[in-house]
Point group: C2
Amino acid sequence: MITIPRTEEENKRVREAQRISILEAAKNIFARKGWSTTITDIASAASVSPGLIYHYFVNKEAIFCELLGQTIQSDLDIFQQLMQSGDTAAQRLEMLISSMLKFRQDQIKQFGITVQAAKETSSSGNELEIMRRIFKNLKNNDSKAKDLQELMMKRVQTVHEIVLQLIVEGQKNGEFASDPPPKLALMIFQSIQGLTTLALDKPEEYEQHYPYTDIIMRMLYS
Amino acid sequence: MITIPRTEEENKRVREAQRISILEAAKNIFARKGWSTTITDIASAASVSPGLIYHYFVNKEAIFCELLGQTIQSDLDIFQQLMQSGDTAAQRLEMLISSMLKFRQDQIKQFGITVQAAKETSSSGNELEIMRRIFKNLKNNDSKAKDLQELMMKRVQTVHEIVLQLIVEGQKNGEFASDPPPKLALMIFQSIQGLTTLALDKPEEYEQHYPYTDIIMRMLYS
């Protein structure tokens, strides 16, 4: 049998497919096992050797960085689509609040931050605080971690801008109460912050009463 | 001139009046200068010598313990009156939420916890967390501090019970939405928690948008 050597183009495609399948497997296993996930776990889930994983990624932190970056980028795309959709301000704000709660919940789950929080007897839970803890976990200060940090800052900033914009729009349409928009936005963010603290401190209680979007939204109606 | 020696009864009255006037002066100066208040400040405000202050109190921590204890006891009395008043559940809940926000704000002000919070880069702000910081500041583990701790725990517990009770009552009267009462109570406490975090981290922003009770109350209406 004659084996035809793969072209550089084909090689690149194979490598890219392998990389994606490793990331996919890692995503599932991180979601299930949280931060205790090892390279061996990922290798076994992806049906490849640990050596092959190290061929593509320096360590599990690098894999996590990439996955989180993908999630944030996809969220940013969704936010943009959201703003161009024909839904009412209330409907779009509802989706945004749900997405914020879900994002934080995912981060908490994936990092097992609950355990850490319990140890520190600190119970803070805002988005930047979660970021701080993530980067403490990542422990690598290289350019990729910096890119990720910037991306997360961009996410926070974008969410703040959109929430304010939607409140203003909803007030114009008579959907929302006429309190100062920054005050309404603040109430949304601080109640989400309070809920994140709960998710960190008492995850069972948080899960028990989930979801929270409807009740948060009521603050906007007079 | 003949001076008639004071009876033991009269002596007791004089001492009690002096003690009360020292506490009154301390209350004002603590509210103004916060935790940096000294015994000399209190003495000067009460127009007595520092020596006389030490006759009645071991240190400023002891004075603070007593003042905080008085505040909490008076709050507990007010809560009891509140439950016996003829106001609607919504009106009483509104008063309770305002009192919770005010209590936390006062504690934060009096302890200058903001500065401390900034130093620790921790931004947690629930009632128990504030208590923890207060007792760290008090640094005395004697029986009075223990009494105070119990009184604060009682305050937290009483507030939780009353909030739940008022929600149930308000639902029966058709005042509130029909979500599970523990969930509505949770949303109230977590939004107050989020606002306390803001008061700790960004006191100017918190002050700027104060008050918050009306918007919190809206979560209860469907």
